[in-house]
């Protein structure tokens, strides 16, 4: 309460001058460092050397920029949980303000939705729903921070990379790169600072959902959660949905029920594909849109796209979690019980 009544440090109208100054800086920088056509790459770029090799397959393991993004998001979420939410809950206040209030409102909405759909299983399903939503939300919104996706290390370009950007490029030419600064021996550059020399830039942090490994991993987690809650609620009878042996004995439509069960298996596994590609496609398209708009109209035009991506990130996070919740709630319903209602 005391915080709200404290006198404002800044007078009215100061912020608009800050915004104007940033736009002026933007115009100046674009004039000085003209934008370059971005190189769009699907696999995540490694930002470290090989850390270790896997014992059996011998594949090298290295940290990629999308993994770094997930780690940062994890630290952020855990930090907020332990150092912001927990003290707020212990303070015994009835009404929360600020970030605690926002998170409370979000989680309350999520819980009400879960309770309306899942009924008595709400307490089991809610943590998974909330975890997925919060993680994906954090990871998606990280894309909007300036510097994510656009500041990184220059790697030597292979011929294919260079060929992709400029067909008439002679890779043997000396590359001139505009460095911002160096960390140790690593040259740090901005994405627009690379002159047309065939070097590619690996950003330090890239939106995690632009890596299929992240989205497929998350989809497999939610797929497994659906199966586990199905078995927990119905026992082994859950698998009767897929391999309906009892239906084979029935006369008439029994065999068709069995075939329907086989199709259920296919549709169950297609959930992984649809979950992962929905998130991946939305965020990857958003990343490309941001890069391309930033290249075509370098001044201020990205702002609208940033607003769009803000909405897309929120909706995709909620949709990913909500679909998991709905499928989990469906898995707790007995197949036969449903038939009896009709």
């Amino acid at each position: 309460m005391a915080k709200e009544e404290a006198p404002r440090k800044w007078k009215y109208g100061v912020k608009r001058w800050i915004a104007l100054a940033i736009i002026a800086l933007n115009v100046y920088l674009v004039g000085k460092i003209p934008p370059l056509r971005p190189y769009i790459q699907l696999p995540a770029e490694p930002i470290t050397g090989t850390l270790f090799t896997f014992p059996f397959t011998g594949e090298p393991f290295y940290l990629t920029n999308t993994m770094l993004a997930v780690i940062i998001a994890d630290i952020l979420l855990l930090g907020v949980a332990f150092f912001v939410i927990r003290p707020a809950l212990k303070s015994g206040k009835q009404v929360f303000t600020g970030i605690v209030g926002v998170i409370e409102a979000l989680l309350e909405g999520i819980y009400n939705l879960t309770e309306g759909t899942a009924g008595k299983w709400a307490k089991t399903i809610f943590p998974i729903f909330a975890t997925i939503t919060l993680l994906v939300l954090t990871v998606n919104w990280m894309e909007l921070i300036p510097g994510v996706d656009s500041i990184g290390v220059i790697n030597e370009a292979t011929y294919e990379h260079a060929h992709h950007v400029d067909h008439d490029l002679d890779i043997a030419n000396d590359c001139t790169q505009d460095e911002l600064f160096r960390i140790g021996s690593l040259p740090v550059v901005a994405v627009n600072g690379v002159t047309s020399c065939g070097a590619i830039m690996a950003p330090f942090v890239r939106a995690a959902a632009t890596d299929l490994n992240f989205t497929v991993g998350l989809a497999i987690v939610s797929f497994m959660a659906i199966q586990v809650i199905g078995v927990r609620s119905l026992g082994l009878g859950y698998f009767e949905k897929f391999i309906n042996i009892r239906a084979l004995g029935k006369p008439g439509m029994g065999k068709i029920d069995f075939i329907v069960g086989i199709f259920e298996i296919v549709s169950e596994f297609s959930k992984i594909i649809s979950f992962s590609f929905r998130l991946f496609g939305n965020i990857f398209a958003g990343m490309i849109l941001l890069l391309v708009i930033g290249t075509l109209v370098p001044v201020a035009a990205q702002t609208g796209v940033l607003l769009l991506e803000f909405g897309v990130g929120l909706i995709q996070a909620v949709v990913f979690g909500m679909l998991t919740m709905i499928f989990m709630a469906q898995a707790t319903h007995s197949h036969h019980g449903e038939e009896e209602h009709h």
């Binding site: 769009i40 790459q41 699907l42 590609f277 929905r278 496609g281 398209a285 490309i288 909500m322």
Partner: protein
């Protein structure tokens, strides 16, 4: 060079699927607006399910986009 041209044509063809998604989103919004016009009190509920439906429909267009981008960039 010819492979590049084929890639670009392929990406263009892949995006034809977005037509269906456009129709679907239009239909969803049509239904939603009609429902809200008939019963403005239910606007909140209708909007939620409308947005959910639009997101699912949009996912089809996103699949097309993913295919097009895979054709172009991989």
């Amino acid at each position: 060079m010819e492979a590049d041209a084929a890639k670009m044509i392929g990406a263009g063809i892949a995006m034809i699927g977005a037509m269906g998604a456009g129709l679907g989103v239009g239909l969803a919004a049509y239904g939603g607006v009609q429902g809200i016009a008939r019963n403005p009190d239910a606007a909140g509920t209708i909007q939620t399910s409308m947005i959910l439906g639009i997101v699912f429909t949009e996912a089809i267009a996103i699949y097309c986009l993913v295919v097009a981008m895979l054709v172009l960039f991989v």
